[in-house]
C-alpha cells in the first residue's frame, strides 16, 4: 500500500494551487460541521446526563408554592427526597445582560448540583455567596470575591428594594449537566431576604424519586393531588423540562444540522468536480498505468487516495479549528445562551466518516470513467 504513497503525493503536489484550494474549502466546511454538530452534541449530552430521578414541581399559575406543599409531596409514594428552591432572575449592570442565580436549599439532597460538601458548608459562613461556572462568570465578567448584584424587578426583598447582592465564592468548572453554565446561591438567604409574607413560599421544588421509571407517574400524581387546591402545580421530570427548553426558542438542533449538511453538500460538489476534472486531464497517464500492469482496482484506489488525502487532512484541520473556536462561542454570543460546542467522539467519528464519504462520492464518476477506459485509443491520442 505504502509504495503508492509517492504516486498520490506527486499527483497532489503537481497542481499545488488546486490541492491547496480544495484543502482550504474542505477545512472551512469542517469548521462549520464541527461547530454546528458540536452544538447539537452539547445539547444531546446534556439530555444524556440528566438525572432520571429528578422531578421538578412548579406552580401552574403565577403563584408561589408553600412550604407545606413540600412536606406533603415528601410523604407521597416513590418520593425519596424533596428540596425547595427559588430563582433570582433579572439583570446585572446592563439591562441587556440577563442574570440569574438558582437558590438551592443546603438542608436537602441535590444530585444535580456539582458542589462539594465543603462548598455547601461555605454558605453557613457566607449565606449571600454564589458559585458560578466559568462560562457564566466570563459572560458576566466576574471573578472570585466580586460582588454580583442582580436587579430582579419581580422579586422584592424585605427592605423593599429589588437589588439582590451576592458575593462570588468561587468560579467552578462547567459540567455537561448545565450546558449553558450554572449559578447557585443559598435558598436560606433567598427565603430570609424576602418580605415576611413571602418567606413561607418556595419558587419550585425538586423531588428525587426512588424509581426513575415511574418519574412520569409521580409527576402526574403530584399534579393530581394539588389540582383542586388553591395552588395547582405543574410537575415534570427534569429530562422533559430540558427537552422542552431546547425546542422552545428555535429548534436549534434542526437548524444546526441543516446548516452543517448544506455546507458539506456544497464542498462535496466542489471536490467531486475537482476530482473529475483532474482525472479527465490525466486520462493518458492512467492509460499508461494500466498498460504497465496496474489493475482497475489499483488505479481507482489511487484516485480515491488522492481525494481522501485532502478530505481527511481538511477534516482534521477543520475540527481542530472548530475546537479552538468552540471555547469562545458562548462569550461571542452571550445572549443566545449557546452552550460550548462539544466535539464528542461521535462528532469526530461522524466528521471523519463524512470526509471518507466525501472522497468516495467524489470519485464515483471518475472511477466509472477509468474502468471503461479505452487504453489503446487514449495512448494513440484518439480520444
Amino acid at each position: 500500500m505504502l509504495k503508492y504513497l509517492p504516486l498520490v503525493l506527486a499527483a497532489l503536489a503537481r497542481r499545488k494551487l488546486r490541492t491547496i484550494l480544495t484543502l482550504l474549502s474542505v477545512t472551512v466546511a469542517f469548521i462549520l460541521f464541527g461547530v454546528m454538530m458540536g452544538t447539537d452534541a452539547s445539547f444531546r449530552r446534556a439530555e444524556d446526563v440528566i438525572n432520571r430521578k429528578v422531578v421538578l414541581v412548579g406552580a401552574r399559575f403565577a403563584d408561589n408554592l408553600t412550604d407545606g406543599m413540600g412536606r406533603q409531596i415528601a410523604t407521597m409514594p416513590n418520593v425519596d427526597a424533596i428540596s425547595a428552591g427559588g430563582t433570582v432572575f433579572g439583570y446585572y449592570r446592563n439591562p441587556k445582560t440577563h442574570a440569574f442565580a438558582m437558590m438551592v436549599d443546603m438542608a436537602s439532597s441535590w444530585p444535580n448540583v456539582p458542589l462539594s460538601p465543603a462548598q455547601w458548608a461555605e454558605w453557613r459562613v457566607k449565606p449571600d455567596g454564589v458559585f458560578l461556572s466559568r462560562l457564566l462568570a466570563a459572560q458576566w465578567g466576574l471573578k472570585k470575591g466580586d460582588i454580583f448584584t442582580i436587579v430582579a424587578s419581580s422579586i422584592p426583598r424585605a427592605d423593599g428594594t429589588h437589588a439582590w447582592h451576592f458575593e462570588v465564592l468561587d468560579v467552578l468548572d462547567d459540567t455537561p449537566y448545565w450546558p449553558g453554565g450554572f449559578s447557585f446561591g443559598s435558598y436560606h438567604y433567598y427565603k430570609m431576604s424576602r418580605p415576611a409574607g413571602d418567606q413561607a413560599k418556595a419558587g419550585w421544588f425538586q423531588a428525587v424519586v426512588k424509581d426513575a421509571a415511574r418519574a412520569d407517574d409521580t409527576a402526574l400524581a403530584i399534579d393530581t393531588r394539588f389540582s383542586n387546591s388553591a395552588i395547582p402545580t405543574r410537575s415534570e421530570p427534569e429530562l422533559m423540562t430540558r427537552s422542552d427548553a431546547a425546542t422552545a426558542a428555535v429548534n436549534v438542533a434542526s437548524v444546526t444540522r441543516r446548516v452543517a449538511l448544506v455546507g458539506l453538500f456544497m464542498i462535496l460538489l466542489l471536490t467531486g468536480h475537482g476530482m473529475g476534472q483532474s482525472v479527465r486531464e490525466r486520462l493518458s497517464e492512467f492509460a499508461v498505468l494500466k498498460t504497465v500492469g496496474y489493475s482497475d482496482a489499483g488505479v481507482i484506489a489511487l484516485v480515491f487516495a488522492e481525494a481522501l488525502a485532502p478530505a481527511l487532512l481538511g477534516a482534521m484541520i477543520g475540527l481542530g479549528a472548530a475546537a479552538m473556536l468552540s471555547a469562545r462561542i458562548p462569550a461571542l454570543l452571550p445572549g443566545l445562551y449557546m452552550p460550548e460546542p462539544y466535539l464528542s467522539p461521535t462528532v469526530i467519528d461522524e466528521a471523519l466518516a463524512a470526509a471518507v464519504l466525501l472522497a468516495f462520492l467524489s470519485v464515483v464518476l471518475p472511477a466509472w470513467k477509468l474502468k471503461r477506459l479505452d487504453v489503446a485509443a487514449i495512448l494513440a491520442g484518439r480520444s
Partner: protein
Amino acid sequence: MIFLRSCLAVIWLNLVSLKQRLWPALVVVVGVACVVGVLLSMLSMTVGLRHAWQRAGSPDRAIILPAGSQAEGDGSVSRSEAEIINDASGIARDAKGRAIADSEILTSLDARRRATGGHGFILLRSFGPMALAVRPEFRIVAGRMYRSGKHEMVVGAEAPGQFLGVGLGEKVEMPDGPWPVVGVFRTNDDVVQSELVADSDTVMAVLRHPDYNSVIVRLAGPGGLAALKRAITTNPALSVTVERQSDYYNRRSAEFSDENDALAYGVSLLLGLGALLAAVNILYSAVAARRREIAALRALGFGAVPVALAVAVEALLLSLAGAVTGATIAYCLFNGVQDVWYNNVFRLTVSPAMIALGLGWALLIGLLGGVLPAIHAARLSIVGGLRAM
C-alpha cells in the same frame, strides 16, 4: 470604442462557450445558492420575529412600567398608582374627558406546543374598559369579544397554529376551571396576535393578582410624551418609567435579534468562504482548460484586459445566478411560514432588503473569486498556449 467592442466580443464568446463548461458552472451556481439560501433562511427568523415585535409598538402610544422593570409583565403597578397615572397630563382624552389609558396584566399560562407536544407557555393579557380606544388595531375576526365579568377569553389569530387547546370553542384551564375561547382577534400582525386576551378585573380576581404590570396610554399630540414624562417623574408617589411604545418594542427586539443576526452572518461568512474557494478553484480550471482559446484570441490581437474582464464577468454572472436561485428557494420555502420563539408566534420573512443583501454578498464572492483567475488568464503565455495546440 474598439476596446469596448473587443471586450464585449470576448465576454460574449466566453458566455457562449459556457455550454461546454456546464458542470463546473453549475457547481459555482449551486455553491453560491447554498450560501445565499442558508443566509436568508437563518435571517428570515430574526427578521420575521423583529418585524412582529416592532409592529406591536406605536409611536402614538407610551408604555409605563414599574421602575427597574425591563419588560411588560415584570414587576407591579398598583391600582392607586394606575389611577394617578390616568390623571397625568400628556395622555389623550376622549369626548367625555376620560384618559385613553389601559392598565394591563400580562401573565403566562401553560400551553402544549403543537409541533412537539411538549410544554410551552402562552401569554394572557388583560384589557380594561379603555383598551380598544388605546389599541384601535384590535378587531375580532371570528366569534365575538369576551364580556367583562364573564369567565371567557379571546385568542390571537396566530396562537392556535402553534399551541394546542387555545382555538375558538376550546377551553383554557384557569385556576377556577376552564374558560371558553369565544373569539379570535387580529391586531397589526404583531406579537400580540399570539396572545390570549380577557377582562382585567376578572383575570386579576381569579389569578389573585392584586396589581397591574403596565399601563399603556395614547399620547396627546406631539408634546404628549414630554408632558407625560414630566408629570410622572416629578410625582414622588410614583416609582415608574415611561417609554414610547415603539421604542420599547425596538429595544426588546434588539435584545435577541442582534445576536441571532450575528450568528447568521458568522455561519454565512464561513459558508461564503467555502464557496469563494470553490469558485476560485473552478475558474482557474476553466482558464486552464481554455488556454489554447485564450492564446488564439491574444494572437489575433485581443488585449489582455478584455480576456481578464471576460473571466471576471463570468464569475459575477455565475454567482448572480446562484444568488437568484438561493434567494428564490429561500423565499418559496420560508417566506410567510409560521414559526414560534418561546411564546411569540411570527411569520418567517424574506424581505426585499434581505434579498438585496444576499445578491450583494454573492456578487462580492463572484468578484473576489474572479479576480485571481482573471489576472492569471491575462498573463498566460501566448506562445505556450499556442504550442499546446
